[in-house]
Symmetry: C2
Subunit: 168 residues, 2 copies
């Protein structure tokens, strides 16, 4: 998966969302992976759900539900809010997208298939949002909860600021 591979690279790393890259590959990889995952789990990635996933993956910026709706409606006249929210709920349930709580928006998951709670770096300048997987951060979260005997289930980590490119 292109996005995933980039995230693992050591180099000037953030920049997947910024550096020009073949985003078509990101989309294709995400859709292929989603089909595999849903097939393996025997759940239905219907055309509607797949279309919504595609729309969410149009960029590396979180996209609002009503933006998804506008886009979806171009090819699917009967689309209404529940249409979109159901698809988004399904995709979240299968771990194919994440909700960015601080933006009320949705983002394709670059680590689909491996259950995880997302950790996000959100550029306030360009909007590009990168999902990171940082075991030390994960451990620190678990430790913090454990310290007060709190049983953690879902973790929201959203850091906003300036990406490397925009800071320069």
């Amino acid at each position: 998966m292109a996005a995933r591979g980039a995230a693992q690279n050591k180099g000037p790393a953030t920049a997947q969302a910024h550096q020009s890259h073949n985003h078509r590959e990101c989309i294709d990889d995400a859709l292929t992976r989603a089909r595999e995952i849903c097939a393996a789990r025997d759940v239905q990635l219907t055309p509607l759900r797949e279309k919504v996933l595609q729309i969410v993956w149009r960029s590396h910026k979180p996209v609002g539900a009503y933006d998804v709706l506008d886009e979806l409606a171009r090819s699917h006249k009967s689309a209404r809010p529940p249409t979109v929210y159901r698809a988004l709920d399904f995709l979240m349930g299968e771990g194919l997208i994440h909700k960015i709580e601080s933006l009320n928006a949705y983002l394709g998951c670059t680590e689909a298939g491996a259950p995880h709670s997302g950790q996000f770096l959100i550029c306030r300048q360009c909007g590009a949002t990168e999902e990171i997987v940082d075991p030390k951060l994960e451990a620190a979260l678990d430790q913090a909860a454990k310290r007060v005997h709190f049983s953690a289930e879902h973790k929201v980590v959203e850091i906003s600021g300036l990406c490397a490119r925009c800071a320069a």
Copy 2:
């Protein structure tokens, strides 16, 4: 307007959300501290703002803006959404309350005066939400951002699950 309905509890009725304690003290301390802070900064903690702060501090559960509004309206008939949001914005600006992004709700800050980004443990059962300050977690967040040359400005950390009491 009236159609929006009355305030109701977010948690179960049982919900002694947290360990029993003299919550009056929590409120008094928070208000005293807020007055000191605002005086020191030469900003106005007006009666309206103080009242809103008081309402937010009625419990250790995050409270929605419209719940604040309903409560405020009991003593302040002219209260409208902008009334509440302005007060909440002021209080957030001065670091006296936090917004819990994953709940679209607001919570009194227990560390007012010391600039910090909040870290929260949210019990899905009783609603009680505890603000923690964990330097190791803070460091892990900074490290994670630094690793990809991201300049962090605001950090959202919200862990939901079961508090010690509810897990037992």
